[in-house]
C-alpha cells in the first residue's frame, strides 16, 4: 500500500492577542509515494512544528493534513496515539532509545504497543537489524552502542510497525559527517524500498541534498520547493 500526504493551508499559532506567534503559516504541499523529503531552514522557521503536526504530536490551529485521504487532527488523544502507533515511525534527534533495553528489545517496544505477535515481532526485529547491519549488536544495551549504531537502531524501531510515514528530526545532529551520511542513506533506502513516505527535518544542507525533494522554510512559510541535488547518489 502506497502513502500519500496532502497538507493544505496548515497553520500553527502559539498564544493569542499581541503575544501570538505564528509558527507555521499557510503551508501546503503534497508528496509522492516512496518520496523522501527534507525540511530545511533556520532555527525557529517552523520545520519541527510542521513535523510534529504531521506526526499527530501537535494540533494545528488551521488547515488540514490528509494521509491516504484521511484527515489527521481534530481527533481525541486516544485516536492520535493510535495514528502514531499504526501510521508513523519516528526517528528522534536524541534517538530516544530506552537505555535499559538491548537493541533488539528496543525494537520490540512498538510491536508490544501494536499488539503484534511476539514471535513474529522478534523475527521482524532480527530482519531489520540485519538490513541495517546491526546483527552483531543485537544484544548490546542501548548505552553500549555508538552514536551511529543508536541512530540506526532508532531507524529500525521506527520501521517496526510498518509505518506509512517515517518522520525524522535532526538524525545527524550528534554524528560526524561520514556517519551522518550513512544514517541518512540508510533511511532513504528503507523509505524507498517500502514505498512509504519520509520527512526529515535537518539543518545540515549536505544531508538535505540527498533527499528527493527539499522544502525550505522561513518564518513559518515554505519559500522554496526543489529537488535534492545529490538524490541520485544514494545507493539503490
Amino acid at each position: 500500500m502506497t502513502t500519500t500526504l496532502v497538507v493544505q493551508g496548515l497553520e500553527k499559532t502559539y498564544g493569542s492577542g499581541d503575544d501570538a506567534v505564528r509558527a507555521v503559516r499557510n503551508v501546503s504541499f503534497e508528496t509522492r509515494p516512496g518520496e523522501f523529503v527534507a525540511l530545511v531552514g533556520p532555527s525557529g522557521s517552523g520545520k519541527t512544528t510542521l513535523l510534529a503536526m504531521v506526526g499527530g504530536l501537535l494540533a494545528p490551529t488551521g488547515g488540514r493534513i490528509l494521509v491516504n485521504d484521511r484527515e489527521v487532527g481534530g481527533t481525541s488523544k486516544r485516536d492520535l496515539a493510535r495514528y502514531r502507533r499504526e501510521m508513523i515511525g519516528f526517528v528522534f534527534q536524541a534517538n530516544n532509545l530506552l537505555p535499559f533495553l538491548t537493541a533488539w528489545e528496543n525494537l520490540l517496544v512498538p510491536a508490544i504497543l501494536g499488539s503484534t505477535d511476539k514471535k513474529e515481532a522478534g523475527a521482524r526485529a532480527d530482519r531489520l537489524l540485519e538490513e541495517l547491519g546491526l546483527t552483531k549488536r543485537r544484544n548490546a544495551l542501548a548505552t553500549q552502542l555508538s552514536g551511529g549504531e543508536r541512530q540506526r537502531v532508532a531507524i529500525a524501531r521506527a520501521l517496526m510497525n510498518d509505518p506509512r510515514l517515517v518522520l525524522v528530526d535532526e538524525p545527524t545532529a550528534s554524528l560526524d559527517s561520514a556517519r551522518g551520511r550513512q544514517v541518512v542513506e540508510s533511511l532513504i533506502q528503507e523509505v524507498r524500498s517500502r514505498d512509504v513516505l519520509g520527512i526529515m527535518v535537518t539543518h545540515d544542507m549536505a544531508m538535505a541534498e540527498l533527499a528527493d525533494r527539499v522544502l525550505e522554510m522561513h518564518d513559518g512559510e515554505i519559500r522554496e520547493h526543489r529537488a535534492g541535488k545529490l538524490a541520485d547518489q544514494v545507493p539503490k
Binding site: A52, A81, R84, R85, F92, Q93
Partner: protein, 177 residues
Amino acid sequence: MKYGGSGDDTPAASIVLLKGDDLPGKKGEGYEVYDKATAFANIEGVSGQQSTVTSLRVFGYLIGALVIGVFFYVLTLQKIPQIGVLKAIGASNLFVFRQILLQVVGISLIGLAISVPLAMLTDAGLRRLPDAVPIAFTTGTFVTTAALLLVTSIVGTAFSARQVIKVDPIIALGQQQ
C-alpha cells in the same frame, strides 16, 4: 510477685497467678480474682508502656508508608522523558500507567521476598539471646506489614498518575509548546 516495699523482709505477694477451674473457691483471703488481661492492665505503668509501644508501631508504619509512597512517586517522575517517548510512538496513558504499576508491584514483591526472610532470621536470632528480647514477630505482623507495603506502593504510584497523563508526547522531539 511483689511490687514495692512493705517495710519488712517478708516477701508479700500482690499478684498470684492461678490456672485451673473453680478458681474463686481457691482464692486466699483478701485477694480478688481477675482474668490475665485485666490483671496486666491494672499493673502500674503497663498501660502507659503499651500506649508508647503502640504509638511507636503506628508511627513506624506511617513513616514507612510515606517513604515507600514518595520513593515510587519520585521513581515515576524520573521516567517522564521515557514516558514522553513511549507516548510519541503511540502508547496510550492506560498502557503507560499499567506498565508502571506492574513494575512497582514487581519491585515491592522482590522487596518483600528479601525482607521477610531477613525479619524471620532476626526474630530467630533475638530468641536465642540469653535474656530474650520481648519482641514477637507474629504471622499477623508479617501479613499486615507486607499488605501495607504493597498498598502504599500502589497508592504512591497512583498519585503520579496525574503526572503521567499530563506528559506531552511532544517532549520526545525536544520541543515544548
